[in-house]
């Protein structure tokens, strides 16, 4: 009996807490050079990095990649395990208080796993995007696909909702967050659904160009704000000043 109760308890904890064990996010590191701005990775357990060391989750890897590329952004991991798109919408205000320049939005997977109507997920993400847009935050929307066992009709409408929202909103759109990772035992934990450290490397590789794209968009927007009068040449110069010693300005060319 005791065991049964404990199992029940453990499951409740797992659920209510959505809690997958995972190392604590350490205190904000002061040494991170965030001269260029702040990126907040908003999402569920796939962002939080359930089941891997915090340093192996994608926001940590992305920050490293950006810093190495001379893009001085701090990336905050604001992933909450077990969160649905409704939860993300509700806590948007909290995220905005931190004044991010860029938000990477990865949400909805738990909606799908709970069989929630995709129309609701779509409405939630639309509202989130609209709010971010109103706050002039550049958004990278990570597309999600639902596991095949939920049924053909369901997975299809689920996949489509991300494409539709991205198209309508004009956000930077990564078609599938888990591209090349989902369903492959080599890149996932034994639970078959959360990426392992190697999986997060692939995700970061895939995501990086979209983030650079967003950074460029951010800069364009910042320039616009500084004065529409500034010339095209001036803008180019200004950009160049950001990468004095790195050849990575080519990213701007390749991904613009």
């Amino acid at each position: 009996m005791r065991h049964v109760m404990l199992t029940g308890l453990a499951l409740i904890l797992l659920f209510v807490a959505g809690g997958c064990r995972q190392p604590a996010e350490k205190a904000a590191k002061k040494e991170v050079d965030s001269a260029d701005g702040l990126i907040i990775a908003v999402g569920d357990s796939l962002t939080a990095g359930a089941g891997v060391d915090e340093q192996a989750s994608y926001p940590a890897l992305l920050q490293k990649r950006l810093q190495a590329a001379g893009l001085h952004y701090r990336v905050i991991n604001a992933g909450v395990s077990g969160e649905t798109s409704s939860g993300t919408l509700s806590r948007l205000g909290w995220i905005l208080t931190q004044k991010p320049g860029i938000v990477i939005l990865e949400t909805g997977a738990n909606d799908g796993l709970r069989g929630i109507d995709p129309d609701l997920t779509r409405a939630n993400i639309e509202k989130i995007m609209a709010r971010l847009q109103a706050e002039k935050i550049v958004t990278v929307l990570a597309g999600m696909r639902m596991v095949g066992n939920m049924g053909g009709g369901y997975t299809e409408s689920f996949r489509k909702l991300y494409e539709d929202v991205a198209r309508e909103n004009g956000a930077v759109f990564m078609p599938f967050f888990l591209e090349g990772v989902a369903g492959d035992p080599a890149f996932n934990n034994s639970d078959g659904i959360h990426p392992n450290a190697r999986g997060y490397e692939i995700i970061t590789d895939n995501l990086f160009p979209y983030v650079v794209q967003a950074i460029n968009k951010r800069r364009e927007a910042d320039e616009d704000q500084k004065g529409r009068a500034s010339s095209h040449l001036g803008r180019a110069l200004q950009l160049f000043c950001h990468f004095p010693e790195h050849p990575y300005s080519t990213y701007r060319v390749s991904y613009k």
Binding site: M1, R2, H3, V4, M5, L6, T7, G8, L9, A10, I12, F15, V16, A17, G18, G19, C20, R21, P23, A24, E25, K26, A27, A28, A48, I76, N77, A78, V80, S81, E83, T84, S86, G87, L89, S90, R91, W94, T97, Q98, D111, R114, G115, I116, D117, L120, V147, G148, N149, M150, G151, G152, G153, Y154, G183, P185, S190, D191, G192, I193
Partner: protein, 835 residues
């Protein structure tokens, strides 16, 4: 050598005492034989090489399709006829009826032919699963039909297939273990697997193969090892029923241990009963025995005859006990229904029977040897003297006691199957007796100083100290029995409060998750009830007093980790089942009366992280740091299925943090589907967990467990009653005399009766007072230190004991000495002189 006529006469003469004696032996043998043989049966069938609980001897499991190596290994075993296997696939899916827009998340289980290999799926039609679950047909839990508004015979879309709901699932064989699910169950035949188009790359499926080993004597370890060699490490798991359900083993081990303790107590109490009833028998015979001695009988003659007499009675008792034990074997599986897989029919084995008989005789010898030894010391002079024959302790006395204690120790260790705990137990029992002895002495000495103004009471009190009276030993045995009984009750109730009755009837049975802040009010209105909403703010614990929390530094305790995401909450009051154990109140107020930023922690997490009052905790709430000092430590008094939170903050500091809420409701199971439909149509984002089915089953389990424990504890109570009867029979003669003298001195029968009642009241009162004192102390210590659970003293029960015991003692006393009061003094006096 033996005079049969003498034996027979003795037996007939003292049939009352003999009956009590036989009952005591029977009781002790019965509870031990019943428990031991049943334990062996259960261990052999469930714990030894448990098969039934997981539906197969072996379970292969993976989140990915099985690799070719493992499949080949399984095929090899099947071809060689060693095993029979069946496939299972488990996943969630959204199903839809043919018409309408509703859809429902369901738990699918696609099963191969022969499923389940052990146990059975109960269907509403009563038909066997294999005749109902054919291609194109599914069976579902009632909730599926209720939620989608369907009838048996209707069709649904599942994946790409259209399937007919053919029957309703009443019970799955592995249901008690699986307590938690997001949707109702649907069973589908493997024949429809391909048509579903749900299983494949990109699907989240639990793949399983159940294997049944055909030859019962086959080497399950070798087969397991062979399969493990072919399995991909970390991905494909091979588990035997034993290791898969090791929790079940632990549970049964605990249960049997507790029952073993009870059966030993029964044995000890019954032993004391034997001793007192034998002492009563001999006391009544003292004059007769002295005459026999005077006529030339040797001490050996008396000893031999009485030894044979007690052995004979012991034999009768043992056989009765075993017969009862065998009879109850039929009853035990009924008691254990639902806890054990069906089909276990325990039988009393010859070995158990022999062991029971041996045990009974050993117990009889141990508990009767000393009173019998006293026979040797009866002198013919006892005819003339009235003083108590304390007797000199012969050379045999101490070796006998030592040998007896050793025997008893071995018995206890064997029964508990643990040397260390057995020794603890013996030490504890001796300490208990010593304590009670001292307390009794102290209480009697103290009461001797008090003078009552009522003559009857004074006389009753004096008669406690009458020469040769067994007041001390009666109080000791009675207090022993009562304290053990009360302790069993208290420990059991406290254990149940923590574990067994974790699903009390009013506990929540429906949980709603993911309620957003702006939905709170509307949600409450929609439920039509006043549910409490629990806000949840997800955050990580960053540091304790500046020391960063890291995974490796924390030993894994209770399967929890300090580094996971925690659920913080805020409120300014305690929940109904919470108590502040340190810090005085939930939060402190500053001088202005405001509540500054602080945090209250639950004792379990405080223990896990070695946190103390005043420690500084730093949290990271999705990028925003929050630091707070620990203001109080809380503890919980209720079951674990009530919602609880490790960290509680004052409302104003987390009210605006990112949060969702969950609600826990208790509603009539009949209304659950309606409520679910109502909430889901208003708030499509809210998910729910229906625990009603689980609650009902756990409640049933709890009830059965309580029944089993009560069943065995009942024997202890019976033994206690026998002790009281035995003790009163032991002092019968002295009482008769007293009654006569009171009458001669001019007392009316009312006075005699009142003295009699007062004396028993005092006996009962003293015993129960001592018992309550020790039982409370002992149970508190057991709960606090051994079981590590909270303790509730249940004073009302103790009070009841103090009131009822004297009453019971008086009633039993009156019943067993009814003849005394009715007898005419002259007649007794005549008989006395006639002797």
């Amino acid at each position: 050598m033996l005079n049969l006529r003498f034996l027979l006469r003795e037996l007939v003469q003292s049939r009352k005492q003999a009956t009590v004696f036989v009952l005591c032996v029977a009781l002790s043998i019965f509870s031990m034989v019943a428990l031991n043989s049943f334990r062996d049966t259960v261990q052999n069938l469930v714990l030894g090489d448990a098969r039934s609980l997981q539906g197969g001897d072996l379970l292969l499991h993976s989140h990915y399709p099985f690799g070719p190596a493992l499949m080949q290994a399984v095929a090899g075993l099947e071809q060689s006829g060693q095993v029979r296997g069946t496939r299972i696939y488990e996943c969630y899916s959204v199903i839809r009826p043919m018409a309408g827009v509703r859809s429902l998340l369901s738990r699918l289980k696609i099963v191969g032919p022969g499923y389940p290999l052990y146990g059975r799926v109960e269907l509403q039609s009563g038909l066997p699963l294999e005749t109902v679950l054919t291609a194109g047909r599914v069976v579902a839990e009632r909730e599926v039909l209720d939620r989608l508004g369907l009838q048996v015979g209707d069709q649904v879309y599942i994946g790409s297939a259209v399937l007919t709901i053919a029957d309703i699932i009443l019970r799955e064989p592995d249901r008690p273990v699986e307590v938690f699910a997001l949707g109702p169950r649907i069973l589908i035949s493997e024949a429809d697997l391909d048509r579903l188009q749900l299983i494949g790359k990109g699907s989240r499926v639990d793949y399983g193969i159940l294997l049944k080993i055909r030859d019962r004597d086959a080497d399950i370890k070798a087969i397991t090892a062979g399969l493990l060699r072919s399995a991909q490490p970390e991905q494909e798991q091979v588990s035997t029923a034993l290791n898969a359900r090791s929790g079940v083993k632990v549970f049964f081990d605990n249960l049997f241990f507790f029952l073993s303790l009870i059966s030993i107590f029964t044995l000890l109490l019954a032993g004391i009963g034997m001793q007192t009833s034998l002492a009563a028998l001999l006391r009544g015979k003292r004059t007769t025995l002295a005459i026999i001695k005077a006529m030339g009988a040797s001490g050996g003659f008396l000893f031999r005859h009485y030894f044979v007499l007690t052995l004979g009675l012991g034999l009768i008792g043992s056989l009765t006990g075993m017969a009862l034990g065998a009879a109850v074997q039929r009853l035990l599986p009924v008691l254990f229904t639902g806890l054990l897989p069906a089909g276990i029919t325990p039988a009393l084995r010859l070995a158990d029977a022999g062991q029971g008989l041996l045990l009974g005789l050993l117990v009889v010898i141990f508990f009767t040897f000393l009173p019998l030894q006293g026979l040797r010391h009866i002198r013919p002079a006892a005819l003339f003297r009235q003083e108590n024959q304390s007797g000199t302790r012969g050379m045999l006395f101490y070796p006998t006691v030592a040998a007896g204690l050793l025997l008893l120790a071995l018995l206890i260790i064997r029964q508990l199957q643990d040397l260390r705990i057995g020794l603890y137990f013996i030490a504890g029992a001796l300490a208990l007796i010593a304590c009670i002895w001292l307390l009794t002495r102290a209480l009697l000495a103290a009461s001797a100083k008090i003078r009552s103004p009522f003559l009857g009471l004074r006389q009753a009190h004096k008669s406690l100290f009458r020469p040769g009276n067994a007041t001390g030993s009666i109080i000791v045995t009675l207090a022993c029995a009562l304290s053990v009984l009360l302790a069993i009750y208290l420990v059991r109730t406290n254990l149940e409060a923590t574990y067994v009755e974790s699903y009390p009837p009013e506990a929540p049975n429906l949980f709603f998750l993911d309620i957003q802040p702006d939905q709170r009010q509307a949600f409450i209105r929609k439920t039509g009830q006043a549910p409490q909403l629990f806000p949840v703010v997800r955050a990580r614990l960053v540091s304790i007093n500046g020391q960063p929390v890291r995974e490796r530094q924390q030993p894994q305790q209770r399967g929890d980790s300090l580094t996971r995401e925690f659920s913080l909450t805020y409120r300014n009051n305690l929940l109904a089942d919470e108590v502040v154990s340190e810090g005085g109140s939930l939060f402190r107020r500053d001088r202005s009366g405001a509540v500054p930023l602080q945090v209250s922690v639950l004792d379990t997490v405080a223990e896990m992280g070695d946190m103390h009052l005043g420690d500084r905790l730093e949290f990271n709430i999705q990028g925003v740091p929050l630091q707070a000092q620990i203001s109080s430590i809380r503890t919980r008094t209720k079951s674990r299925l009530y919602p609880f939170f490790y960290f509680v903050f004052p409302e104003e500091f987390l009210r605006d943090a990112p949060q969702t809420s969950f609600a826990a409701l208790h509603i009539d199971p009949q209304e659950i589907t309606g409520m679910e439909n109502r909430i889901v149509s208003a708030f499509p984002n809210i998910s729910f967990i229906n625990m009603a089915q689980t609650a009902a089953e756990l409640g049933e389990l709890a009830r059965r467990l309580a029944g089993i424990v009560n069943f065995f504890a009942g024997f202890s109570i019976l033994a206690g009653t026998l002790i009281i009867i035995g003790s009163i029979l032991a002092t019968r003669l002295a009482r008769v005399r007293e009654a006569v003298y009171y009458t001669i001195l001019g007392a009316d029968s009312r006075f005699v009766l009142s003295v009699f009642i007062y004396e028993h009241l005092l006996l009962g009162l003293f015993s129960s007072l001592i018992a309550v004192m020790l039982a409370q102390l002992g149970s508190w210590a057991l709960c606090r230190f051994l079981f590590n659970i909270g303790y509730l003293p249940h004073w009302s029960v103790s009070f009841l004991l103090i009131v009822l015991t004297p009453l019971l003692v008086v009633v039993i006393g009156l019943l067993s000495s009814a003849g005394i009061l009715r007898q005419r003094p002259a007649q007794i006096l005549r008989e006395q002189t006639g002797e």
